[in-house]
């Protein structure tokens, strides 16, 4: 009799444990970050302190750029309004701490995806929204026409705490050239020092060079050398440990790219609901239940496309039309000779 009671209680305890586990996983489905974001009513997004084309604030404080658009897409998906984003400008040095400490929920700040960043410091990269590479800018009259013209003792201005610093070392070491690295915390000071003649060359991601060149006193006196010395896949980052939020950010970006692939843009998105192509119908929420997996409604992707536009629109608006990099280069769809290729949204 006593034994039976013992067995029954242990069985009940086991059930209780199982039940507790199952409610636990149900709760985990509703992401903590997602819940907090919906409660606050805005997406907390970390951006740069001003990089035209990627994340840049105008005089009235409106942020624009392809990095900004990723956060706007997430806001459109989870809150229904692409403008419900709070932007926090961060230096290269501050960005990861701001994310891991929970000050922001998405870091969309031209950040290079590397193994050590992904694996080591509590971050998860969710995708690539711009394929970049490090280059060098020099004065036109300097006579440098290629990185092979660089000689011992060259001084190079760059930003502190970036992969640029490491690539620069790899590059000069492999060429056997001694160099003087001059590293500043803020991009504006790098530009000012290079402009004044402190350095012979200014090195950073090529998109950055193109964007910062506009800030120089006479942009036409400077050229970007043709060589690219590194791979810099730039993309949004989230904190480790919230896989649902991670998926939301990843697929908000993927949807923008896939929308371009299928020719869905902000103007025709609504009419695409009656398309013959099931992939297009899924994309605008007319078929399937894709949003449910994240705990979102079925129109989340439609809102992204309508309010922010597809990737091509975002690129054109922020990078091509502003004259930074009119040629899309590798950031063209795979169907058109580029390397933008995302998994299917289905």
């Amino acid at each position: 009799m006593f034994k039976l009671i013992k067995q029954v209680t242990s069985f009940v305890a086991m059930l209780a444990v199982l039940f507790a586990f199952s409610t636990e996983t149900m709760a985990a489905k509703k992401s903590k970050t997602l819940k907090n974001t919906q409660k606050k009513g805005f997406v907390r997004c970390g951006v740069s302190q001003g990089l035209p084309g990627f994340s840049n604030a105008d005089a009235s404080g409106n942020w624009t750029g392809v990095d900004v658009d990723v956060c706007r897409a997430v806001a459109a998906a989870v809150l229904g309004d692409a403008n419900k984003v709070k932007f926090t400008p961060l230096s290269a040095k501050e960005r990861f701490t701001a994310l891991t400490s929970g000050e922001i929920d998405i870091l969309s700040r031209n950040t290079t995806w590397t193994l050590s960043r992904d694996a080591d410091i509590g971050l998860t990269f969710v995708g690539v929204n711009f394929y970049d590479g490090q280059g060098f800018m020099v004065r036109k009259n300097s006579g440098y026409s290629s990185v092979n013209d660089f000689k011992d003792g060259i001084s190079a201005c760059t930003n502190l705490g970036t992969t640029t610093e490491l690539n620069m070392r790899d590059f000069f070491n492999s060429k056997g050239i001694s160099y003087e690295p001059v590293t500043f915390e803020k991009a504006d000071e790098v530009v000012a020092a290079y402009d004044a003649g402190r350095c012979d060359t200014y090195t950073t991601d090529k998109s950055g060079l193109a964007a910062q060149r506009i800030k120089l006193s006479s942009p036409d006196d400077h050229i970007v050398l043709p060589e690219t010395i590194s791979k810099e896949p730039l993309g949004p980052v989230v904190r480790q440990g919230d896989s649902v939020w991670e998926d939301i950010v990843r697929w908000s970006l993927n949807v923008m790219i896939e929308a371009e692939e299928y020719g869905v843009d902000s103007a025709n998105a609504d009419s695409m609901k009656t398309s013959d192509n099931p992939a297009v119908k899924r994309l605008v929420g007319a078929e399937g239940e894709l949003g449910a997996a994240f705990g979102l409604d079925n129109e989340w992707s439609l809102r992204i496309i309508k309010q922010v536009g597809n990737y091509g629109e975002s690129y054109k608006r922020n990078i091509a039309d502003t004259g930074i990099l009119p040629d899309r280069g590798p950031n063209e769809l795979w169907t058109k000779g580029g390397i933008l290729y995302v998994p299917p949204a289905r």
Binding site: A92, K93, F96, T97, T100, S116, R117, D120, I121, G122, L123, R139, N141, S142, G143, Y144, D149, F150, K151, D152, G153, I154, S155, C157, L160, G161, T162, E165, L166, M168, R169, D170, N173, Y179, E180, P181, V182, T183, F184, E185, K186, E189, A192, A193, A196, G197, R198, D200, R239, Q240, G241
Partner: protein, 383 residues
């Protein structure tokens, strides 16, 4: 027993509270870091740093460890603090005494200097010296040599570097000179106390300090060559100097800004110290026939120093801590190298920030300890 508990009780409670608060923060940080998959540890210090530094006092490149990078930053910080303290002390004493001058022009210029430099934020001054200097200085190929051998350019100050033969003998002679100066000083003090005679200690010291090292050149086999900076072309428009010693413009701007700024505060300490001595002391000293120089050296300064030293210590500490603004103008100090690049590359924010904080704390405590020791040695000794 009860009486004792009453005394210890509040202190015990405070102690427990402090331990609990610290314990809570540590525990909190630990659980949060665990939740986010961040490990705590100092193992990264031995990893290869793989970034280069513009200016280093010891041999360093990216193949060395993060610990070595830390040392590079620490030494660069100490260098700035050391030069800054020397500049600010010399300038501060001069300005402080000038503020007490009876000459109207000198007094007013000193006052203007103090009011001008101490009321502008330091960071702005650093930016000013750096970017103003960068704009104003010539490119290497346009630089006019100063005294034929110095080149001040946008890429830094290039000076001849020394190439020594038998440097150690020269250094021994310097040490010997210092020891003999100390001995002579002690002897002079005794002579004055016992027989009332005075030796010209200052002139003896100076000549010893010059003559002994000079002798090593003549008979010790010491010789000195200079390696002059020579302009070398890298491309159509970029030039550099080869040979000699290059001092980066970042270091010059930073020490200049720190020195000029802190000098104003030291000047005020010096003025306060001298004015703190009552007029009667000076008059009494004059009435027993001391010369003005002797009055300043033997009566005023020994008393004034006691007032000057403690607040000046504060200024030295401020200067050292302010040197961390270096990061703004690319001078590779501790904050830029270690709490900047190294932190970024490793992501070890908690470890690196606490090491950096402890380092600044230790530097400050050491300076404070030295200055307190000096203050004690000049305090009134009851005989």
């Amino acid at each position: 027993m009860n009486f004792k508990l009453k005394n210890i009780g509040p202190q015990l409670i405070t102690l427990i509270a402090v331990v609990l608060v610290f314990g809570f923060f540590t525990f909190n940080a630990q659980t949060n870091m665990e939740n986010r998959g961040i490990e705590f540890g100092f193992g990264f210090l031995t990893q290869e740093s793989s970034f280069d530094v513009q200016f280093s006092l010891i041999e360093y490149d990216g193949s060395h460890s993060y610990a070595r990078a830390y040392l590079v930053g620490l030494l660069n910080t100490l260098l700035v603090a050391f030069i800054g303290i020397i500049i600010s002390t010399i300038l501060g004493v001069i300005i402080g005494i000038a503020r007490l001058s009876t000459n109207y022009l000198i007094e007013r210029s000193a006052a203007f200097y103090v009011e001008f430099f101490r009321n502008i934020p330091l960071l702005l001054q650093i930016f000013f010296w750096y970017f103003a200097a960068l704009r104003a200085l010539p490119l290497p190929q346009d630089a006019e040599p100063m005294f034929g051998v110095f080149f001040l350019t946008i890429k830094g100050l290039f000076v001849p570097s020394f190439i020594w033969n038998n440097l150690n003998i020269f250094l021994y002679s310097l040490i010997a000179a210092i020891i003999s100066i100390v001995l002579i000083r002690n002897y002079a003090i005794k002579l004055q106390e016992n027989e009332g005679k005075q030796l010209p200690v200052f002139s003896i010291s100076v000549s010893l300090f010059i003559i002994l090292p000079l002798l090593t050149f003549l008979i010790g086999g010491v010789s000195l060559n200079f390696s002059l900076p020579v302009l070398e072309q890298m491309s159509n428009t970029s030039f550099k100097y080869k040979g000699g010693l290059g001092i980066p413009p970042e270091l010059i701007a930073l020490t200049l800004a720190l020195g000029l700024y802190t000098a104003t505060f030291i000047a005020e300490c010096v003025r306060a110290g001298i004015q703190g001595i009552s007029k009667g002391q000076k008059e009494a000293a004059a009435s027993i026939g001391l010369t003005p120089n002797q009055i300043l050296k033997l009566v005023i300064m020994p008393q004034a120093l006691r007032i000057i030293i403690p607040p000046t210590t504060n200024q030295y500490l401020n200067l050292t801590k302010n040197s961390s603004l270096a990061a703004a103008i690319a001078y590779p100090d501790l904050v830029l190298i270690f709490a900047g690049t190294a932190l970024m590359q490793t992501g070890r924010a908690i470890e690196i920030v606490s090491i950096t904080m402890l380092t600044y704390l230790s530097i400050s405590l050491s300076i404070s300890f030295l200055m307190n020791w000096y203050n004690k040695s000049i305090a009134i000794k009851e005989k």
